[in-house]
Amino acid sequence: MTDAMTRPTVSPFLEPGLRTKPRSLAILQLSRDNLLPIYLQEASGEHDGYAEGAVVNTRYGSFPHSTMLNVPWGSQIRASKVDTGSRGRKRKRGPKDDASRDDAEENQPETADNNDTEATGVKQAVADDSGFIHVLPPTPELWTQSLPHRTQVVYTPDYSYILHRIRARPGSTIIEAGAGSGSFTHASVRAVYNGYPSSAEDRKGKVFSFEYHEERYHKMKKELTDHNLDGLVHLTHRDVYNGGFLIDGKSPEADAIFLDLPKPWEALPHLSRRKPQTQAKEGEDTAAEWVSPLNPKKAVHICTFSPCIEQVTRTVSAMRRLGWVDIDMVEIANRKLHTIRDRVGLHYQTDRGVNVSPHDVEEALERLAEIEERVREQAARPRGAGEDGAEDADTVMKNGDDAAKKDNDKTSAEQPPFQTPWVDGRLITKGEPEIKTHTSYLVFAVLPREWTEEDEAAAFAKHPCGKEKAVVGSIDKQTRKKERREQLQKIGDRKARRKERAEKIAEAVE
């Protein structure tokens, strides 16, 4: 790739800087939950028929990349007037809607038919009168919401908890299998990032990712390059059940592991400290030295991600046999809440989201009394000939109701109540209309580092026992009393000494 040289070296996920940059990933927020990832391009002449260079067309308007480049992140971008109609067509579109444009610009699309050489002829974008979007720096959270789905995605509520529990920290090495759509990959890179390695020997936080599916592997590979994560993620195309987790026969020395596989128990034997017995049976290569992919100097944390309980049972059973401890299974339930203004009351005009009914008993009472009043008035009126006579009580009631309403409307028309939908009504929270009730079961476990007799002997030699001076923790009453007495004694001694000294000084002064 030719422009790889000119790319900013640090991923925009990790150090986005203050402004948008060309050839870098940006996330466009079209509306609340509508995000669009995009690689911003510098305008270098007509692009795909647009005079303004590359343009993003959305239902909220058209946005030439040039309007989104070198602006502060988070900027609100106005839509531009972009000629989408005559794109690709040759002439005959005539200057009909050119009121706001000058002639030179208007002619641009027509003259620049095959204008690869005319790099300078980029049309200046003209702001539209409505429509806007925001441009945000990429983060794993935004990426998770907007990435192209290849498999089931590990969402933020899950991965945030997982990374917290498996102790993914700057400088850690993580094994991830499979890579899937890459949401966990991006989140874990952020967690372990502590700078790009300067050389092959330079050990920095790194993610070793494994993907079995070839097409997904290639897509992921490209994505990582585009996101400038190549030095931080090592992606391998492999079936880990059979192939294991070594990189060119060497151990990645993982501190933490995340398995999003259908059969974690088939991958687990590879993640041992020593060659597990189950593998030993298979035979010939017993002579060859078995290398553990784990960090030999640290306890290793693992998390497996499985949707079914049967998978969990088998995984946990396998973990126990392989010596994992602190096995813990959880599932995460996440809820999003919306806040809304709940507007109930007779004084509201009928509107969307408004419930025109009494908001409390008093209001209901007032209105009922009003209706009764009207009914009484009506009854008291001298009966005219004909039409009124047929009226029964119910219709009177109904008329009264309507009249009351009308009356209400009238008063509001005369003296409109100050309607500000953002402060009216009661503030309430509601769950989102659809909730994810189950994503997957998370099984956590820890594999302590190996501890041999020799290690123990060395540690014992270094820290010999038998010279214990004090007791820490829960101590029995007698010892506690004794210690307290000794302490008081010490303080007492010191006080006495100080007193003595003070006396001496006083004497000397005299």
């Binding site: 308007g61 010999p464 214990e468 829960s474």
Partner: protein
Amino acid sequence: MHHSVIKPNSWVALKLPSGVTRVIQVTPNTSISLGKYGTFPANLILERPYYLTFEVQDKLPEESFSRLRVVPPSELYADVFAEEDAECANPAAGPGSNNDAVIATAAGEEFSLVDAESGNVIARSTQEVIDENARQKLTQAEIEELKRDGTNAGKDVIAKLLLSHAALDQKTSFSLSKYKLLKTKKYIRRFQVLPIDVPTFSNWQLEERDASKILDIRAEMMGLVGCWGNVHYGGADVFLEDPKATTEQGEEALAPLQEDLLAGRWLVVDDTGGLLVAAMAERMGVLYKEDDETEEAAEEEEATEKAEEETEPKQESDTTSQKDTEMIDGQQQAATSETTTLPRHPKRPRDNKPRDSDFAVPFSQTNTITVLHGASQPNLSFLNYWNFDVTAPQHPPHPLLNHLLTLSWLQLLKPELDTSYSTPPLTADPETLSTWKPSRRGNFHRKRRRYARVRHIVDSTRAGNFSGLVCASTMDPISILKHALPLLAGGAPVAIYSPSLEPLATLADCFSVARRTAWNSGHVAEIQGKTAEELEKWEGSEQFPLNPTLLLGTSIQTSRARRWQVLPGRTHPLMTERGGADGYIFTGWRAKPAEGKIAAKGKFKRRKVEESVSTPASA
């Protein structure tokens, strides 16, 4: 690489069979007492790996202390394995395992009855109510005696209790395993050592100490806050050059702020006693000291020095009884009065570097945490568990020293009212300085250094462009955002934790669609004629407490982890879990609104805009 082995003087969590966690500092040459689970020398766990399970063994006749034994996982899971094996084998095949690790005297006897039945279990689980006390034939005195004389790390006691239970044969395998578990928890002398990292510490604080001190923040919420706040390593350290100010020079000699160097900085409001700061520091890689093998000697030296200085949070340690606390207070007193008589800071012979001038800025310009606090001093006492004391004047090396900046709201908003910011630094020419007593000279330098530090913290914070805001506070979030939002860089995330929903709902309402459209429509009288900059620092009004266009994609969420028990044939969610505050987080991104009137596209929205336009105008 940290948490490889247990380092001397580090804080650790001891997990006991009863489920209780004890947090203690592992001081060399002390004994650690676990109450009824036994006492052992601290040296026996020093330099041993974390997460191993140890068993307190019986004292050997010729030794004065109990040795420890590492319990292999095969023994920890012996029961489960036996059960699994029995399940695999024919249920009628009788006692399935001869595994020594299973707690039983011998195969056969009472156990065989149960084992034979383990295939059909449900048959009478509901029929009998077994009163354990009534059916236990051993008297309390006998049990006590067993406990005293009992050997084999409590396993004998359990086995005898099981054997002498009259109704054991009537128990189903379910109730049997429950009974056994109960007795094991009570008598087995095992423990596990966990490192004090943020997940372990917060879990302990939440479950066993005072959850309200950390605003009931659960691990799920901690993870969410960190991720939505995009807290991560913010780049390699960059230091300002030492201005080499002489003692005669005043504020004009301060190192000028270089705004383009500032990067990867997070703003925090923390009322969790420092836990949130610790969590962020962990994510940014500045919480733990790197413990290289080569550094060990130096570290030990430091550690002893530190022990003398006695800055540890002894009150915070797991002493539950009043008496313990008293004792520790006494210790502290003793220690502090001792240190006053000692020369406090012996010069380190190792440092051959020329001393930095008073105005050298000790802080990195990147990868920093800036804490805003409401009191005159920040409360970050929990950082003591990671051997960092924010109040210590002379601190042994710690990564937080260069990466943690603290300032009060007064220093941020009205620095001219803050004495340490606004009082010009002392100056003196070298001759007068040399005539002073060392203590006065020390004070002079200390004050000048503090002045330079405060100036740098306040000025760099006010320069803004923070990479994110993270918050877990008892203060009203609206008031926090009013002053913190202008300090954030465009696109910077905001993540605010609250134990209860209401404050966040009120906050989210400040950014409602209705408010934003009204604001953008250009018909809100109060904001007419204001520049973009003035609107960014919007003071707030009754109708618009905050500028609603400054945050994007605001959202409230909550998470809860449901824990499960996974055992062969008995997998189900736990019956009870911690209740109390649920915990919610509010998230959003700092927006840079376009200048002037702006309208959304689309028919429906336009109608709405017009509506909200007309009403306030008529008012």
